[in-house]
Assembly symmetry: C2
Homo-oligomer: 118 residues x 2
DNA sequence: TGAATATATGAATAATTTTTCATATAATAA
DNA sequence: TTATTATATGAAAAATTATTCATATATTCA
């Protein structure tokens, strides 16, 4: 079977459904952007960081102590979250304080939490 | 540095913030369940499957043709979505029709899409 | 200026996830 | 019953992601 071709080994294929799905499909870039966003939430360390930051800014050191992981690991995770504009930081002397950057974060967390509890 | 210990190499640590974050932290099982859910959305193949199923049920073969990937790959992805109760299926003879199982899916997709477009 | 420290980062390793390939299962048709 | 076919699945291979370790950077303080 060659997935590159627009056919399928099966006989039972629903042309109209596939056409309809193609018509309303999102552009690849949009799918990729969504996947990137969900990936940011798809890791327990990052989820705990995001959840913790809901109640106020914290420095890298605080987050490392909270999660009980190395500061380097937290810093790498924060970089990913920063790259996706989910968090931003503010420097006060030598310390960087991180905060949530976006109301959508809270929405996604809440929907996921409710989903899990049902 | 030993991440297992409740301390941090840094001097500047905000005890109250960490305590507050600990107090409102989610249980590990809840974090894990949320991470699992987000993982399901954190892959472009699965996102495209979920997006396609919004407009009606499709069989494995349809989805493979739509995504242009092997039926085996789609089937593995569907198993994951099934395990998380995000999709369910209905058998009609030899064909299995898959459908979305949950209104939260639509909500998560929409929030993520809007987020990406802003 | 030099030492100390909070954080960042590249590269390597470890861990996890996705896809493929081969084969199995379940339903239908002959 | 046997052949066919749509889908499922285990195990291996390929790809991706997280963490660690070593080191770099930026800021403060002496």
């Amino acid at each position: 079977m060659n997935p590159k071709e627009d056919f399928c080994a099966c006989r039972i294929i629903h042309e109209e459904r596939i056409k309809k799905a193609r018509d309303m499909a999102l552009a690849a870039t949009e799918i990729d952007r969504m996947a990137e966003l969900f990936k940011a939430f798809a890791d327990s360390s990052r989820l705990r960081i995001l959840w913790a930051l809901r109640q106020g800014e914290m420095c890298v050191c605080d987050l490392a102590a909270l999660l009980r992981v190395s500061e380097s690991a937290v810093s790498h995770q924060l970089r990913l979250l920063r790259t996706l504009h989910l968090v931003s930081n503010r420097r006060d002397g030598v310390v960087l304080y991180y905060r949530l950057n976006d109301e959508h974060i809270e929405q996604l967390l809440q929907v996921a939490l409710i989903h899990g509890r049902e």
